[in-house]
Symmetry: C2
């Protein structure tokens, strides 16, 4: 007869303790397969527990396949292999990923956290939590909540003179996610193109998606049209307002050429990533390709990660109507990925013009930071600066150096000093001499002390070389 | 000389108004390309505005490419094509997508909204908003915030006896998103497999991803091993706790066979979707494949969309360490997609055991609803019910009908009556006779009145046929 010591169960329910004991004995081989278990009544009597307890334990083991039953004959141990035992506590193994720590990281393109409008945002979030009820838990519209799409459409009309229907806006948790959704509705055999020099992220998305893609040379007016035609591209990704990292503004004439190129062939598209457009310091924003397009070939994208907070996973894309219809065929199947609560909050935040005021405060802040950084660089006598460029927009600038030091050595020597930089050459298809010796400095997250010390340390590299 | 009427500018800044006027004239052809503009000084005098105003407008037009300048000669109109004019208000075109409305929708697998713990959730969200500061705006860890990963690991240990390191948990905005991330790190030539009958969603994800995939027959113990070997699958998706839609529980022996199959070859994996595991009514939950696996081949997935709210875009997957390392190579590049604020709130919600209490309340509610639905179906005398199955777990059940009515007609006749149902045959690879005439009823969102009326309407179909 099987007997267990129920005093050891430490407050565990009886049937659960019994279940554990039996399972342990089955898995350890103490109760080999085919063993007939005592009847419930018998077992209960021998162990001074109720029949109900035994029944519950048997039933559970039956459902899980540790036992099988035969009519009128009773319960038998099933054939199971021996399982490793549960370890008794959570494994405390070290972090698999450990990021590096830097004194100053010029590669991060985030926001100035301390400028985040905490008071307004908290107030609005609290309002949303009080005002809304079931809307906060229901599955949101797959394009994102209507209120936010309307607020974005109105904002784009006010600030960018863009005429957009809220019905063509798709909200998503980040630009990468939206790219993934977009690429599903573009022709599978399309050749994608990206600016050279250009974003590192876009080629990576193309690679991950497994599409054919190519680099297109940049010239001083934007993406080069000859290069575009030569490479046979179908879908081209551009940031006409402010290319990354060069900071080139695409001229109106080039924009028109690009739209013209699009209309020459079916299924040619432009993806307009309008990131950073809010931070133009010296002049007004330029009309978007989306606004200039009359052929429904421009997909417009932007994000609130850069203007509000990187933690706010709310980005959007605007599809031309034709693509929108194509999107609908697959989209209702996908749930919207952005937080509903934050979507309601952001809608209010935009409606009340808090967003515009926040952007304008940020712009002032970044502009001052940019001036400061330029001044610090100019004052750094040992830094062999040839030119500072890309300063009119965004939150980074380019420092062109007059040096023989290779980019890899430069980065390494900066790293030794706790400074993380990227060089322009990393954003190019090939190591072109004209794009060598150019540091890219993102300054949005760094304060004056950090900027001064970081530039001093970069200067030190060249002092050291001069010695 | 060009003259504009500045009294019409309606409070617009002078330079902006001037910019608009000039641009309009350039685009309309009033100022043809090559036209030399008056000097800034001259223009200012003639229009009674300041030189600064003219300079700002000229500069903006220059940046945008509407003008070009020649040293010492002045400003000229550039060659630009004529642009369509902005329409004056937001286009009000109708919704591109309009969902259908139903009296009762038995196909939606959401939650009972009214059971959402609003008071606790609001309280915790408010706490998070007050307590946290910069953490709420900073870019979160790409795997999701640590607090939540620890809370999930502890929860799984308490309730599922799973031993999981928080370092191997990845938080994401929904299961579809996580699948996309996962498939990127599995071998590109792998053959994926899905249960037959099984989820409609998984084949769709496979199709969208463009991988090879196949159906695997189910038997009464779970996925059929012969079928799995025969089809040459490498990665198999299962819900051993409760397959959808059949509701089959995979026995321990079959689980061991499946793990054995995995270990026979490198790069074989099991994706264990443990959705609905929380709603098991008649017995305790069964150990997961993840816990039983000693070869690092099981990827575990679950979501809070079903247990808390579909609007809460927080799901997670747990990778075996080997895959976690592979994931890290690409993952730091992707931002975490779930809302940071809601991640902090959910972490607290789980830590304080609110989540377990909520699940147990929900389970009680669904269990009562299930009993009610079974009772209503039994009482519906005209409904030719052969069997009701799949009732032990989850929030749906299967009604096997004794009828000649085809599934398509049945669905259509239900639709005529405002009732949305799906039939088992829709979840199968082929129209197998054994899976005909089975309705799948998801009941989580419907109250008693709706359930009674919906079943009455379904009954009506058969009354109508009998006439």
């Amino acid at each position: 007869m099987i007997r267990y010591d129920f005093s050891k169960r430490n407050g565990q329910p009886l049937y659960e303790y019994l279940y554990d004991c039996l399972k342990k004995d089955i898995l350890s081989g103490h109760l080999p397969s085919g063993t007939k278990l005592p009847s419930k009544r018998e077992f209960a009597r021998e162990n001074h527990i109720s029949v109900k307890t035994v029944m519950n334990a048997y039933e559970q083991l039956l459902v899980e396949g540790y036992l099988y039953s035969e009519e009128k004959r009773g319960y038998f141990v099933a054939e199971v292999e021996i399982m490793p035992e549960y370890r008794s506590e959570l494994a405390e193994y070290p972090a698999v990923y450990e990021g590096e720590t830097w004194f100053a990281d010029f590669t991060v393109n985030n926001t100035a956290y301390e400028k985040f409008p905490f008071t307004q945002w908290r107030k609005i979030m609290r309002e949303v939590l009080s005002e809304y009820d079931v809307e906060l838990v229901q599955r949101a519209h797959f394009q994102g909540i209507k209120e936010l799409r309307v607020a974005i459409a109105e904002y784009l009309y006010r600030t960018r003179k863009m005429l957009v229907s809220p019905e063509c806006i798709i909200i998503g948790a980040g630009i990468e996610y939206l790219y993934n959704r977009l690429m599903k509705i573009l022709p599978p055999d399309a050749i994608y193109a990206v600016e050279n020099p250009g974003s590192k992220k876009i080629p990576r998305i193309y690679e991950e998606f497994g599409v054919r893609w190519t680099y297109i040379q940049m010239d001083e007016n934007g993406i080069n049209m000859e290069s575009l035609r030569e490479k046979g591209a179908d879908v081209v990704q551009v940031s006409p307002e402010h290319s990354y990292p060069l900071g080139t503004v695409m001229t109106v004439a080039r924009r028109q050429e690009l739209l013209e190129w699009c209309s020459e062939k079916m299924e040619r598209y432009i993806v307009e990533d309008d990131y950073d457009c809010e931070f133009r310091y010296n002049s007004r924003m330029i009309p978007t390709l989306y606004s200039m397009d009359s052929n429904h070939r421009v997909i417009y994208m932007n994000t609130f990660s850069k203007t509000l907070a990187p933690s706010l996973r709310i980005s959007y894309m605007i599809l031309p109507e034709k693509l929108m219809r194509r999107y609908l065929d697959s989209a209702t199947f996908y749930s919207n990925t952005a937080s509903t609560c934050e979507q309601y909050a952001l809608a209010k935040f935009i409606e009340r013009k808090y967003f515009e005021r926040h952007v304008s405060r940020l712009k002032k802040h970044y502009s001052a930071q940019r001036n400061l950084l330029i001044q610090i660089i100019r004052e750094a006598k040992h830094l062999p600066v040839k030119e500072i460029s890309g300063v009119d927009c965004g939150t980074h600038l380019l420092v062109w150096l007059d040096t023989n030091l290779g980019d890899i050595e430069l980065k390494w020597m900066a790293k030794q000093r706790g400074i993380h930089i990227e060089c322009l050459s990393e954003f190019c298809e090939e190591m072109e001499p004209m794009y060598q010796h150019v540091m890219i400095l993102n300054y949005s997250e760094l304060n004056e002390t950090a900027l001064r010390e970081a530039i001093r340390r970069l200067e030190e590299i060249f002092c050291f070389l001069e010695m």
